[in-house]
Subunit: 361 residues, 2 copies
């Protein structure tokens, strides 16, 4: 499994060069570039071995070498220089992120856009929320036909809805309902909102106008929406920057998949610890559409049982090092912001842990 130090250096050089140029790289190029003092002929021998070991392949005889997914995996796991962004870059990212962050949902799409800008790949952001409940119900009486429902959830987000009814409603009734909902509908998840519960609330409030069901419907809607994982994709068009997507059909297929909010992570993979970075290379992806693309994902902690992921999609020939570093900073920023609910400490450099499949099958 382990290979000589020189082979590693050569493999790293091939990956670096191929990432940069998108052209198969030849023995001469490596000899002149990588600082190992040997001639192209030696390199050729090594390359041939790397091919037979499965780390590299040739598009055809007499072309240079190109890394296989296994080669990339080796690179990501062992060879890649954990890129340290300069202080300026880090601060730039943090500054741009701070400009964007406000509330949870807004934030996520903004940060996904930011990730796409920074990396020049399409970016996606997902949140999975678990077991959200309603913490508190308020109803603001506006006029006889109108009131506003305000719901505060266990993750401290607040949702509201303006309700206009065709009939007049007594302010007293609304007050009664607010009290009843506050005792009956708080602390429960969506599944627990049963017709029975709604019905008994309606009776207890002496509601003959059907207001109860309107409010209950909103409660269900809010709970459902909050529990559902949400996904944002931005910068799909940046795919077209990549030479491997010059074929419009290929680009189209992948973009369609991304826009459709196709799931990215294998369902059996549990969400990683916040701060970790996951790299899925080519065939390691489960989705057919991603089999020859790579995905880099950073997990962040949005507090209160909510974990989120932010990632980018690109060709397997991806600048894993730079992408991982940038995502890491974004994720850390999000964790700080969302996890605590407090203003973030600035300028913190953070550890970079990379995880992913090991290359064995």
């Amino acid at each position: 499994m382990s290979i000589s130090e020189r082979k590693k250096k050569i493999l790293a050089a091939v990956v670096d060069e191929y990432v940069r140029t998108a052209e198969p790289v030849g023995s001469k190029a490596i000899a002149s570039k990588a600082g190992l003092g040997c001639s192209s002929a030696t390199i050729r021998n090594e390359l041939a071995e790397l091919v037979s070991l499965g780390y590299l392949e040739q598009p055809h005889t007499s072309a240079g070498r190109v890394p296989t997914p296994m080669g990339y995996r080796m690179y990501v796991n062992e060879l890649m220089e954990k890129q340290r962004l300069s202080l300026e870059e880090t601060e730039d990212i943090n500054r741009r992120m701070n400009q964007k962050l406000r509330e949870l949902d807004d934030t996520i799409s903004d940060v996904s856009r930011l990730a796409s800008q920074l990396t020049d790949y399409p970016a996606l952001a997902l949140t999975t929320r678990t077991a959200v409940t309603i913490k508190r119900f308020d109803i603001i009486y506006v006029d006889a036909n109108t009131f506003i429902i305000v719901v505060m959830l266990s993750d401290n987000t607040v949702k509201n809805k303006l309700v206009k009814l065709p009939v007049s409603v007594d302010q007293k009734l609304v007050q009664r309902l607010a009290i009843l909902f506050n005792s009956g509908f708080t602390g429960i998840t969506e599944g627990a909102v049963t017709p029975l519960l709604i019905h008994s609330t309606e009776r207890a409030a002496d509601d003959t106008m059907g207001v109860t069901s309107v409010i209950a419907a909103f409660a269900i809607e809010v709970l459902t929406e909050a529990a559902a994982p949400s996904a944002y994709v931005s910068g799909e068009n940046r795919l077209l920057n990549q030479p491997e997507f010059r074929d419009p059909d290929k680009a189209h297929r992948l973009m369609g998949y991304l826009s459709g909010g196709g799931y990215i992570l294998p369902p059996d993979q549990r969400m990683e610890e916040a701060g970790e970075i996951k790299v899925l290379i080519g065939p390691e992806n489960v989705a057919e559409e991603l089999k020859d693309s790579s995905v880099v994902i950073a997990t962040y902690d949005a507090g209160d049982n909510t974990k989120g992921m932010i990632g980018v999609v690109g060709p397997t020939r991806m600048d894993y090092s730079a992408v991982a570093a940038k995502l890491s900073i974004l994720a850390a920023g999000l964790s700080r912001r969302l996890g605590s609910g407090e203003a973030p400490p600035e300028g913190m450099h953070n550890k970079l842990i990379i995880k992913g499949d090991t290359g064995n099958e």
Copy 2:
């Protein structure tokens, strides 16, 4: 300016055929297809004249003819069959729309997505809001450190924000502030929120904790956001379906422009009446990036001084007829929904008025 009836028929046939096939259309194809009883040689003569009149052009000698922007303009203005969608189609669109509509902002992006699905072109939706003011302020006291600001705007949207303070705040103070904001900050636009006003409110409430400025900041934020035009673009990737965008660079340029929320309408064009459809063909667009694309836009009435637009972007070779019909239904549905704030009457077929530049230069 006006041309013979037969020329019109031929022009229409060229456009129809070219829209369908994306290939230059020859005299034979027209002779066999269009129901005018004359031979290809006659058609050739007519075609030659249409070219010299500027309605058609040839990519090169000995290729078929392709409509010029002026040809499309003629087609849109005079020749196009105002397409009637079948009752089923209309109902399908209405049904799908009804599933999506909830609140203004959500809605618009959803409808834009729907428009893109229906037409298979990228779609965009914009709202310009004029003179939004705050109608009503409520503050919900949650606990000593926490309260929720709820703001109802003149367009009947409701915004809220959860505020967590590092210090304890008296419930009385919050109540005083709610009353003061309700009298001082309602009915005014963003520009009228002056430091002076904030300061005097702060004094009147006897607020030494800086709560006033937090609430005022939210008021400003909400007003600013509400007054700003918002734009959504969806389905950019559908561009890649069109043969004219098989060149990735071309596609990329346009997609980048669209994603960037580039402005579409010429700034001097005032918003049209709701229900009208505007067609901008190729060079009629002001933006350089759109010079060889077409835009079809429907205006809808979102009630309360708010007009919105929903449109699609595609190659000049666009199925104007079908697109216009579909957008028209969507816009009508939106007007009904948003304009009145009431549930829409179902299944209504509506008039289709097409407007646009006249072809004179």
